[in-house]
Protein backbone atom coordinates (compact mmCIF):
# COMPACT_ATOMS: atom_id res chain seq x y z
CA UNK A 1 0.00 0.00 0.00
CA UNK A 2 1.52 3.36 -0.98
CA UNK A 3 1.89 6.25 1.44
CA UNK A 4 -0.99 8.34 0.13
CA UNK A 5 -3.37 5.39 0.30
CA UNK A 6 -2.27 4.71 3.87
CA UNK A 7 -2.89 8.34 4.78
CA UNK A 8 -6.30 8.22 3.13
CA UNK A 9 -7.22 5.08 5.01
CA UNK A 10 -6.05 6.54 8.30
CA UNK A 11 -8.11 9.66 7.65
CA UNK A 12 -11.18 7.57 6.86
CA UNK A 13 -10.66 5.54 10.02
CA UNK A 14 -10.38 8.70 12.09
CA UNK A 15 -13.57 10.08 10.57
CA UNK A 16 -15.37 6.81 11.25
CA UNK A 17 -14.33 7.02 14.89
CA UNK A 18 -15.50 10.63 15.25
CA UNK A 19 -18.71 9.83 13.38
CA UNK A 20 -19.49 6.95 15.73
CA UNK A 21 -18.85 9.14 18.75
CA UNK A 22 -20.85 12.21 17.76
CA UNK A 23 -23.64 11.08 15.45
CA UNK A 24 -26.25 10.25 18.09
CA UNK A 25 -25.60 13.00 20.68
CA UNK A 26 -25.40 15.51 17.84
CA UNK A 27 -28.95 14.66 16.80
CA UNK A 28 -30.18 15.27 20.34
CA UNK A 29 -28.25 18.53 20.58
CA UNK A 30 -29.89 19.79 17.40
CA UNK A 31 -33.36 18.54 18.30
CA UNK A 32 -33.11 20.63 21.46
CA UNK A 33 -32.37 23.77 19.49
CA UNK A 34 -34.01 23.49 16.08
CA UNK A 35 -37.15 22.53 14.31
CA UNK A 36 -37.32 18.77 13.71
CA UNK A 37 -37.34 19.31 9.94
CA UNK A 38 -33.90 20.92 10.07
CA UNK A 39 -32.11 18.35 12.19
CA UNK A 40 -31.04 15.91 9.50
CA UNK A 41 -29.65 18.63 7.25
CA UNK A 42 -27.80 20.23 10.12
CA UNK A 43 -26.29 16.92 11.21
CA UNK A 44 -25.01 16.49 7.68
CA UNK A 45 -23.67 20.05 7.67
CA UNK A 46 -21.73 19.43 10.86
CA UNK A 47 -20.32 16.14 9.65
CA UNK A 48 -19.22 17.76 6.39
CA UNK A 49 -17.30 20.28 8.43
CA UNK A 50 -15.80 17.45 10.47
CA UNK A 51 -14.68 15.71 7.29
CA UNK A 52 -13.24 18.90 5.82
CA UNK A 53 -11.46 19.94 9.01
CA UNK A 54 -10.70 16.53 10.45
CA UNK A 55 -7.16 17.57 11.29
CA UNK A 56 -8.55 20.36 13.50
CA UNK A 57 -10.83 18.09 15.52
CA UNK A 58 -9.24 17.64 18.94
CA UNK A 59 -8.79 13.98 19.78
CA UNK A 60 -10.19 14.14 23.28
CA UNK A 61 -12.80 16.83 22.67
CA UNK A 62 -14.41 15.77 19.41
CA UNK A 63 -17.99 16.00 20.64
CA UNK A 64 -17.71 19.46 22.24
CA UNK A 65 -15.92 20.64 19.11
CA UNK A 66 -18.82 19.34 17.03
CA UNK A 67 -21.31 21.09 19.31
CA UNK A 68 -19.44 24.31 18.60
CA UNK A 69 -19.70 23.71 14.86
CA UNK A 70 -23.36 22.79 15.23
CA UNK A 71 -24.06 26.02 17.07
CA UNK A 72 -22.65 27.99 14.17
CA UNK A 73 -24.50 25.88 11.63
CA UNK A 74 -27.74 26.58 13.47
CA UNK A 75 -27.00 30.30 13.38
CA UNK A 76 -26.15 30.08 9.69
CA UNK A 77 -29.35 28.23 8.98
CA UNK A 78 -31.27 31.08 10.54
CA UNK A 79 -29.54 33.52 8.21
CA UNK A 80 -30.52 31.62 5.12
CA UNK A 81 -34.20 31.63 5.94
CA UNK A 82 -36.51 33.58 3.70
CA UNK A 83 -36.05 37.32 3.37
CA UNK A 84 -39.35 37.87 5.09
CA UNK A 85 -38.32 35.69 7.97
CA UNK A 86 -35.01 37.48 8.24
CA UNK A 87 -36.80 40.77 8.36
CA UNK A 88 -39.06 39.51 11.10
CA UNK A 89 -36.07 38.19 13.01
CA UNK A 90 -34.23 41.46 12.58
CA UNK A 91 -37.16 43.41 13.88
CA UNK A 92 -37.56 40.97 16.72
CA UNK A 93 -33.85 41.06 17.51
CA UNK A 94 -33.47 37.32 17.12
CA UNK A 95 -30.57 35.52 15.58
CA UNK A 96 -31.45 31.86 15.83
CA UNK A 97 -34.53 29.76 15.26
CA UNK A 98 -36.78 29.53 18.22
CA UNK A 99 -35.71 26.41 20.09
CA UNK A 100 -38.27 23.94 21.39
CA UNK A 101 -39.94 25.24 24.55
CA UNK A 102 -38.71 23.96 27.87
CA UNK A 103 -40.83 21.04 28.96
CA UNK A 104 -43.61 22.27 31.21
CA UNK A 105 -41.66 25.04 32.90
CA UNK A 106 -42.43 28.45 31.42
CA UNK A 107 -40.98 30.23 34.45
CA UNK A 108 -37.65 28.57 33.87
CA UNK A 109 -37.90 29.44 30.18
CA UNK A 110 -38.37 33.10 31.04
CA UNK A 111 -35.48 33.03 33.48
CA UNK A 112 -33.15 31.48 30.90
CA UNK A 113 -34.26 34.00 28.29
CA UNK A 114 -33.03 36.76 30.57
CA UNK A 115 -29.48 35.44 30.29
CA UNK A 116 -27.15 36.55 27.52
CA UNK A 117 -27.12 34.17 24.52
CA UNK A 118 -23.71 32.80 25.40
CA UNK A 119 -24.75 32.16 29.00
CA UNK A 120 -27.93 30.46 27.82
CA UNK A 121 -25.85 28.09 25.75
CA UNK A 122 -23.46 27.44 28.63
CA UNK A 123 -26.38 26.50 30.85
CA UNK A 124 -27.88 24.23 28.20
CA UNK A 125 -24.60 22.50 27.45
CA UNK A 126 -24.11 21.92 31.15
CA UNK A 127 -27.62 20.80 32.02
CA UNK A 128 -28.77 19.07 28.85
CA UNK A 129 -25.63 17.86 27.13
CA UNK A 130 -24.02 17.13 30.47
CA UNK A 131 -20.75 18.82 29.58
CA UNK A 132 -18.12 19.77 32.12
CA UNK A 133 -16.72 23.33 31.98
CA UNK A 134 -13.64 22.11 30.10
CA UNK A 135 -15.85 20.62 27.39
CA UNK A 136 -18.11 23.67 27.27
CA UNK A 137 -15.01 25.79 26.83
CA UNK A 138 -13.98 23.69 23.85
CA UNK A 139 -17.44 24.03 22.32
CA UNK A 140 -17.66 27.79 22.71
CA UNK A 141 -14.06 28.88 22.33
CA UNK A 142 -13.82 30.11 25.90
CA UNK A 143 -11.37 29.31 28.65
CA UNK A 144 -12.52 26.71 31.21
CA UNK A 145 -12.09 29.34 33.89
CA UNK A 146 -14.34 31.77 32.06
CA UNK A 147 -16.96 29.04 31.62
CA UNK A 148 -16.87 28.18 35.31
CA UNK A 149 -17.30 31.82 36.27
CA UNK A 150 -20.08 32.36 33.75
CA UNK A 151 -21.86 29.18 34.75
CA UNK A 152 -21.74 30.11 38.41
CA UNK A 153 -23.10 33.58 37.68
CA UNK A 154 -25.77 32.22 35.36
CA UNK A 155 -26.99 29.74 37.96
CA UNK A 156 -27.12 32.48 40.58
CA UNK A 157 -29.06 34.67 38.18
CA UNK A 158 -31.49 31.87 37.35
CA UNK A 159 -32.02 31.13 41.03
CA UNK A 160 -32.71 34.80 41.71
CA UNK A 161 -35.14 35.09 38.79
CA UNK A 162 -36.98 31.94 39.77
CA UNK A 163 -37.08 33.12 43.35
CA UNK A 164 -38.73 36.35 42.25
CA UNK A 165 -41.25 34.45 40.11
CA UNK A 166 -41.92 32.03 42.93
CA UNK A 167 -42.60 34.81 45.40
CA UNK A 168 -44.82 36.54 42.89
CA UNK A 169 -46.89 33.51 41.90
CA UNK A 170 -46.62 31.28 44.94
CA UNK A 171 -44.35 28.90 43.09
CA UNK A 172 -41.33 27.81 45.07
CA UNK A 173 -37.96 27.63 43.38
CA UNK A 174 -37.17 24.05 42.52
CA UNK A 175 -40.76 22.95 42.82
CA UNK A 176 -41.50 20.28 40.25
CA UNK A 177 -43.24 22.03 37.38
CA UNK A 178 -46.43 20.59 36.05
CA UNK A 179 -45.97 18.47 32.96
CA UNK A 180 -42.30 17.95 33.67
CA UNK A 181 -40.53 14.90 32.36
CA UNK A 182 -40.11 11.99 34.69
CA UNK A 183 -37.04 11.40 36.76
CA UNK A 184 -34.11 13.67 36.10
CA UNK A 185 -30.83 12.21 35.06
CA UNK A 186 -28.70 11.12 37.89
CA UNK A 187 -25.40 11.66 36.12
CA UNK A 188 -23.30 14.44 37.59
CA UNK A 189 -23.16 17.04 34.86
CA UNK A 190 -19.85 18.35 36.08
CA UNK A 191 -18.15 15.04 35.66
CA UNK A 192 -19.96 13.26 32.93
CA UNK A 193 -23.09 12.87 30.91
CA UNK A 194 -24.13 12.61 27.32
CA UNK A 195 -21.27 14.63 26.10
CA UNK A 196 -18.60 13.97 28.67
CA UNK A 197 -15.24 13.06 27.39
Amino acid sequence: MDVSRQASTARADRFDAVFAEVYEPLQRYLRRRCRPDDVEDLVADVLLVVWRRLEDVPADLALPWCYGVARRCVANRARTASRALRLVQRLAGERQPEPPPLVGDPALGRAISALSPIDQEIVRLWAWEGLAPRDIAAALGLTPNAVSIRLHRAKSKLAAELGKEGRGAGHQPGEAPSGAQSAPRTTDATTGGEGST
Binding site: A20, D45, L48, R52, N76, T80, R86, Q181
Partner: protein, 208 residues
Amino acid sequence: MSDELENRLRRANPVATDATVHPADGPGAAILRRTVMSTDDEMLTGSRSGAEPPLWRRPVVLGVAGAAAAAAVVITVVAVTSDDAVVPTAATTVTYDLGGSGTVMGSCVPFADLEPIAGAAALAGTVVSIDGDIDGDLVVLEVDRWYASGDADRVALRGTPETVSLDGVEFVVGEEYLVTAADGVVQPCGMSGPASPELEQAYDQWYG
Protein backbone atom coordinates in the same frame (compact mmCIF):
# COMPACT_ATOMS: atom_id res chain seq x y z
CA MET B 1 -30.72 25.68 45.40
CA SER B 2 -28.03 24.52 43.03
CA ASP B 3 -29.19 20.89 43.07
CA GLU B 4 -32.81 21.96 42.79
CA LEU B 5 -32.00 24.22 39.89
CA GLU B 6 -29.98 21.50 38.21
CA ASN B 7 -32.82 19.02 38.57
CA ARG B 8 -35.32 21.56 37.34
CA LEU B 9 -33.20 22.33 34.28
CA ARG B 10 -32.88 18.66 33.48
CA ARG B 11 -36.58 18.05 33.88
CA ALA B 12 -37.17 20.84 31.36
CA ASN B 13 -34.89 19.23 28.81
CA PRO B 14 -37.00 19.07 25.62
CA VAL B 15 -35.13 15.97 24.40
CA ALA B 16 -34.18 13.40 27.00
CA THR B 17 -30.59 12.28 27.16
CA ASP B 18 -31.62 8.78 26.18
CA ALA B 19 -34.16 9.86 23.56
CA THR B 20 -34.21 7.57 20.55
CA VAL B 21 -32.35 8.89 17.54
CA HIS B 22 -31.05 7.40 14.33
CA PRO B 23 -28.39 4.91 15.41
CA ALA B 24 -24.78 5.40 14.39
CA ASP B 25 -24.69 1.85 13.06
CA GLY B 26 -27.94 2.12 11.12
CA PRO B 27 -28.40 2.21 7.35
CA GLY B 28 -29.11 5.94 7.29
CA ALA B 29 -25.87 6.68 9.10
CA ALA B 30 -23.95 4.46 6.69
CA ILE B 31 -25.34 6.37 3.70
CA LEU B 32 -24.55 9.70 5.31
CA ARG B 33 -21.04 8.59 6.18
CA ARG B 34 -20.34 7.49 2.62
CA THR B 35 -21.84 10.66 1.19
CA VAL B 36 -19.79 12.91 3.42
CA MET B 37 -16.56 11.04 2.79
CA SER B 38 -17.05 11.21 -0.96
CA THR B 39 -17.58 14.96 -0.88
CA ASP B 40 -14.57 16.99 -1.89
CA ASP B 41 -13.68 20.46 -0.70
CA GLU B 42 -15.03 22.18 -3.78
CA MET B 43 -18.43 20.67 -3.26
CA LEU B 44 -18.30 21.52 0.40
CA THR B 45 -17.61 25.13 -0.33
CA GLY B 46 -20.71 25.37 -2.41
CA SER B 47 -23.09 23.35 -0.29
CA ARG B 48 -22.39 23.53 3.39
CA SER B 49 -24.44 25.97 5.38
CA GLY B 50 -21.30 27.41 6.88
CA ALA B 51 -20.56 28.97 3.50
CA GLU B 52 -23.86 30.74 3.26
CA PRO B 53 -24.10 34.48 2.59
CA PRO B 54 -23.78 37.07 5.31
CA LEU B 55 -26.33 37.47 8.01
CA TRP B 56 -28.07 40.72 8.60
CA ARG B 57 -28.26 40.77 12.29
CA ARG B 58 -26.23 38.65 14.59
CA PRO B 59 -24.81 39.59 17.93
CA VAL B 60 -21.16 38.73 18.17
CA VAL B 61 -19.38 38.65 21.45
CA LEU B 62 -16.67 41.25 21.72
CA GLY B 63 -13.33 39.54 21.87
CA VAL B 64 -10.58 39.81 24.41
CA ALA B 65 -7.25 40.99 23.15
CA GLY B 66 -4.32 38.65 23.25
CA ALA B 67 -3.47 37.33 19.84
CA ALA B 68 -0.89 39.34 17.99
CA ALA B 69 -2.27 40.81 14.81
CA ALA B 70 -1.62 43.82 12.68
CA ALA B 71 -4.21 46.23 11.41
CA ALA B 72 -4.65 46.20 7.69
CA VAL B 73 -5.92 49.14 5.72
CA VAL B 74 -7.67 48.24 2.52
CA ILE B 75 -9.79 49.93 -0.07
CA THR B 76 -13.27 48.53 -0.22
CA VAL B 77 -15.80 49.02 -2.96
CA VAL B 78 -19.16 49.64 -1.42
CA ALA B 79 -22.15 48.85 -3.56
CA VAL B 80 -25.04 51.19 -2.94
CA THR B 81 -28.27 50.04 -4.47
CA SER B 82 -31.07 52.36 -5.40
CA ASP B 83 -33.87 51.27 -7.68
CA ASP B 84 -31.79 48.24 -8.59
CA ALA B 85 -28.92 50.47 -9.76
CA VAL B 86 -25.49 49.70 -8.37
CA VAL B 87 -23.30 52.71 -7.76
CA PRO B 88 -19.81 51.77 -6.67
CA THR B 89 -18.05 54.14 -4.35
CA ALA B 90 -14.69 53.84 -2.68
CA ALA B 91 -14.35 53.68 1.07
CA THR B 92 -11.34 53.00 3.19
CA THR B 93 -11.58 50.24 5.72
CA VAL B 94 -9.22 49.41 8.53
CA THR B 95 -9.33 45.94 10.05
CA TYR B 96 -8.71 45.10 13.69
CA ASP B 97 -8.67 41.73 15.36
CA LEU B 98 -11.11 40.91 18.12
CA GLY B 99 -8.31 38.69 19.37
CA GLY B 100 -8.10 35.34 21.05
CA SER B 101 -7.79 34.44 24.68
CA GLY B 102 -5.38 35.75 27.22
CA THR B 103 -7.35 37.83 29.63
CA VAL B 104 -9.30 35.96 32.22
CA MET B 105 -12.54 37.48 33.37
CA GLY B 106 -12.12 39.32 36.60
CA SER B 107 -8.59 40.44 35.88
CA CYS B 108 -9.64 43.78 34.38
CA VAL B 109 -8.86 46.92 36.31
CA PRO B 110 -11.83 49.00 37.50
CA PHE B 111 -13.21 51.38 34.91
CA ALA B 112 -12.24 54.41 36.97
CA ASP B 113 -8.61 53.28 36.87
CA LEU B 114 -8.42 52.86 33.09
CA GLU B 115 -5.94 55.00 31.24
CA PRO B 116 -5.56 55.77 27.54
CA ILE B 117 -3.13 53.63 25.59
CA ALA B 118 -0.43 55.62 23.89
CA GLY B 119 -0.72 55.41 20.12
CA ALA B 120 -3.99 53.49 20.22
CA ALA B 121 -6.70 54.06 17.66
CA ALA B 122 -10.06 55.10 19.06
CA LEU B 123 -13.35 55.59 17.32
CA ALA B 124 -17.09 55.66 17.57
CA GLY B 125 -18.88 53.66 14.92
CA THR B 126 -22.23 52.18 14.02
CA VAL B 127 -22.44 48.53 13.06
CA VAL B 128 -23.60 48.20 9.46
CA SER B 129 -23.09 44.49 8.92
CA ILE B 130 -22.16 41.35 10.75
CA ASP B 131 -20.88 38.49 8.68
CA GLY B 132 -19.76 35.10 9.74
CA ASP B 133 -19.32 31.45 9.09
CA ILE B 134 -17.92 28.56 11.01
CA ASP B 135 -14.45 30.05 10.74
CA GLY B 136 -15.21 33.36 12.36
CA ASP B 137 -17.07 36.61 12.37
CA LEU B 138 -16.57 39.99 10.72
CA VAL B 139 -18.26 43.04 12.16
CA VAL B 140 -18.19 46.19 10.02
CA LEU B 141 -18.74 49.60 11.58
CA GLU B 142 -19.23 52.87 9.77
CA VAL B 143 -17.08 55.34 11.62
CA ASP B 144 -19.05 58.18 13.18
CA ARG B 145 -16.04 59.81 14.75
CA TRP B 146 -12.34 59.16 15.06
CA TYR B 147 -11.03 60.07 18.48
CA ALA B 148 -7.44 59.11 17.70
CA SER B 149 -5.11 57.59 15.13
CA GLY B 150 -7.38 56.96 12.22
CA ASP B 151 -9.35 58.37 9.32
CA ALA B 152 -10.86 55.35 7.59
CA ASP B 153 -14.52 55.42 6.67
CA ARG B 154 -15.16 51.96 8.01
CA VAL B 155 -13.67 49.61 10.54
CA ALA B 156 -13.88 45.84 10.26
CA LEU B 157 -13.48 43.80 13.41
CA ARG B 158 -12.47 40.23 12.81
CA GLY B 159 -13.17 37.49 15.32
CA THR B 160 -12.29 33.82 15.38
CA PRO B 161 -13.94 30.73 16.81
CA GLU B 162 -11.50 31.12 19.68
CA THR B 163 -12.72 34.60 20.49
CA VAL B 164 -13.22 34.95 24.22
CA SER B 165 -16.31 36.71 25.43
CA LEU B 166 -16.09 39.84 27.48
CA ASP B 167 -19.00 40.02 29.84
CA GLY B 168 -21.45 39.40 27.06
CA VAL B 169 -20.76 42.60 25.14
CA GLU B 170 -22.40 42.05 21.79
CA PHE B 171 -22.59 43.80 18.45
CA VAL B 172 -25.96 44.53 16.94
CA VAL B 173 -26.52 46.10 13.55
CA GLY B 174 -27.58 49.72 13.85
CA GLU B 175 -26.11 50.31 17.28
CA GLU B 176 -23.09 52.46 18.08
CA TYR B 177 -19.92 51.26 19.77
CA LEU B 178 -16.74 52.86 21.00
CA VAL B 179 -13.65 50.92 20.09
CA THR B 180 -10.03 51.27 21.12
CA ALA B 181 -7.42 49.21 19.28
CA ALA B 182 -3.72 48.93 19.94
CA ASP B 183 -1.31 47.08 17.67
CA GLY B 184 -4.25 46.04 15.56
CA VAL B 185 -6.13 44.37 18.40
CA VAL B 186 -9.31 45.62 20.02
CA GLN B 187 -8.77 46.44 23.67
CA PRO B 188 -11.27 44.89 26.07
CA CYS B 189 -11.87 45.31 29.78
CA GLY B 190 -13.99 48.43 29.55
CA MET B 191 -11.84 50.15 26.92
CA SER B 192 -14.30 49.18 24.18
CA GLY B 193 -18.01 48.59 24.25
CA PRO B 194 -21.45 49.91 23.43
CA ALA B 195 -21.65 53.68 23.33
CA SER B 196 -22.69 55.13 26.64
CA PRO B 197 -22.41 58.59 28.20
CA GLU B 198 -19.82 57.25 30.61
CA LEU B 199 -17.62 55.73 27.91
CA GLU B 200 -18.02 58.75 25.61
CA GLN B 201 -16.93 61.03 28.42
CA ALA B 202 -13.92 58.81 29.05
CA TYR B 203 -12.98 58.85 25.36
CA ASP B 204 -13.25 62.66 25.34
CA GLN B 205 -10.91 62.81 28.30
CA TRP B 206 -8.47 60.22 26.96
CA TYR B 207 -8.33 61.30 23.34
CA GLY B 208 -9.96 64.72 23.20
